[in-house]
Symmetry: C2
Subunit: 336 residues, 2 copies
DNA sequence: GTGAAAGCGCTAACAA
DNA sequence: TTGTTAGCGCTTTCAC
């Protein structure tokens, strides 16, 4: 591979100084129309691309955004990342992707690595820690509130209205005739699920239904398998139930499978709701009623706010809560 | 945020020159045991991290790998990316992620952007073009063969044995009693599906079954929706069928839904197989028999080869084909 | 075993 | 409107 061209060669070919070429590239004014055209032509001819390392060194800022995500194979996170990456690339930014696998230590290492690389901003889809050392770098906390949100000193937060989502799902189960509703959740590392649970409780209270502790299941992890296990326990237990409100689609799918393994059908015997409305929800067994989050909207907002902060403007609001809706499918259609 | 410390400050605090600090950091020898310890201690105390832009400029090489992927929301690609990112981070590399959305133009832009950023290597999960301009940068072509593979001049290729996968799936359908097997595929942009189709044909020939053109469906895209439409056409058509071999899980799920929409059940009326064995396959309706790819193995191999190439060693082989297996679930268990 | 110094490609302050 | 120049933080050659 021949050595990449430098701004110096472009300057020579165009018969100007490197400063002028730099000005043209960065549109910093102080050049004539003719000079601009000539420089641009040479750049195009030579297929010149500025060396980002040099630029980064000189300006201490890069065209790179770090995205920290618990696990990219989670369909909901994958969708967020896809949207973010496409939006940001349109604005000239590349994305460094970091999976934390829910490990605080790994998350810490990634943060250090990102700052060493002079990333221009960070999107933190995670809820493990609060990063004071990030002050200075624009950061958007997305989707998952930090555990220590109140201590957050900088950056903005965007999340879905999880509480209302939990409420909507539960109301739908009640509407469909459920009176003994079990809840499937995994509160570990995820305040969102706590909020969804609160919405669940609010709906019950509103309908004069009592929450039954025996129907309140906490799983070890968010997985199909753990949900199946939990549902098997429910079925084996003494408390009767006619509906399951699950705080994620993955666990809802596990619930459907678990029920079937125990001779119960959805929606024949039990109704089920999920959360996230990902591909899984539409594809699974009976078609899963699920709370829909506006992922493109969240991503767009995150991109906008991050770009604003990069340009030095502090967004007027520091907290954004986006509305959710309910996508109704067969899993909550009681059969006649 | 206080300004990041530089190697100069570390050198001062340790009472040595910057050259020595650099040598210690990069383990380039030429320093005493005592010096090393002192320098290390200061570095730890100060939480010093070398400036990657400066390092990149000086050496024209970074600790960044570019990953180009058609669409991160595809569960199979998401799994590959997760594994790659985790492996590479362990070796000190960060990953720039680039979604092409199957657009050749976007792919081109990403390639240019990656080279401008001096990425150390590239993993190309795509099959759109052949990149001669990449010669010089180590590149692993992963999962999707390039259309113009024969012209590939450098880099290594890793893919699953897709042909055998198609063969295994088809044999399983035949074993379960199918005699008129439809195939659901989308050859656009993806030579893998072509290979799976070839395996399908080989299995038919081996069993003395004739391929029926009326049962050979090509969809516009790899999506649940397009698969549903295709299956609706199949059902409405004149040719009878008792099995569907689908070249991806996503389309297989679409097939199951499409069949149900037309009053046919899996596995009661029609048997179905998928490909990729992603979460969807285990979760969907009846449980989908699917061809399993060794994603962690592929990712590990890709990482190893890329690191080798980065270190200047050309791997002995330039093409790797990994074995696949069949995960059998209910969708191919004919009911009595 | 260690240090001095050049220079990677770029930007920005200053000069003209 | 344009050019000259210093220097960002680091590695590496050369000298000791």
């Amino acid at each position: 591979m021949e050595k990449a061209k430098s701004i110096k060669e472009i300057a020579q070919l165009a018969g100007v100084s490197t400063a002028t070429v730099s000005r043209v590239i960065n549109q910093n004014g102080r050049f004539s129309k003719e000079t601009e055209e000539r420089v641009r032509r040479i750049i195009r001819q030579q297929g010149y691309m500025p060396n980002m390392s040099a630029k980064g060194l000189r300006t201490s800022r890069t065209q790179v955004i770090g995205i920290i995500v618990p696990d990219i194979t989670n369909p909901h996170f994958a969708e967020l990342v896809l949207n973010l990456e496409m939006n940001l690339f349109q604005h000239g930014y590349s994305c460094l992707i970091c999976n934390t696998n829910e490990s605080e230590e790994l998350e810490k290492k990634h943060i250090r690595s990102l700052t060493a690389q002079n990333v221009r901003g960070i999107v933190l889809i995670s809820g493990l820690r609060n990063y004071i050392e990030l002050s200075g770098t624009p950061v958007v906390y997305l989707d998952r509130p930090s555990h220590s949100r109140k201590e957050r000193t900088s950056g903005v937060m965007i999340e879905s209205d999880n509480e209302t989502g939990g409420y909507l799902a539960t109301k739908e189960l009640i509407r469909a005739g459920c009176r003994q509703i079990a809840i499937l959740k995994c509160l570990k590392n995820d305040d969102n699920q706590q909020a969804r649970y609160k919405g669940f409780q609010r709906a019950l209270v509103e309908e004069d239904l009592r929450e039954n502790e025996l129907l309140c299941m906490d799983t070890a992890a968010v997985s199909v398998k753990d949900a199946r296990v939990a549902v098997a326990q429910l079925v084996a237990g003494t408390a009767h139930f006619d509906g399951i409100m699950s705080t994620t689609d993955t666990m809802a799918v596990g619930a459907v499978i678990g029920l079937r393994e125990n001779g119960l059908e959805v929606p024949g015997d039990v109704l089920v709701t999920g959360f996230d409305d990902c591909q899984l929800a539409a594809a699974c067994g009976p078609g899963l009623t699920s709370v829909h989050q506006d992922v493109p909207g969240m991503s767009r907002l995150a991109t906008e706010l991050l770009l604003q902060m990069i340009e030095g403007k502090q967004p007027e609001k520091t907290y954004y809560r986006l509305p959710v809706s309910l996508t109704v499918r067969r899993s909550t259609q009681r059969e006649k």
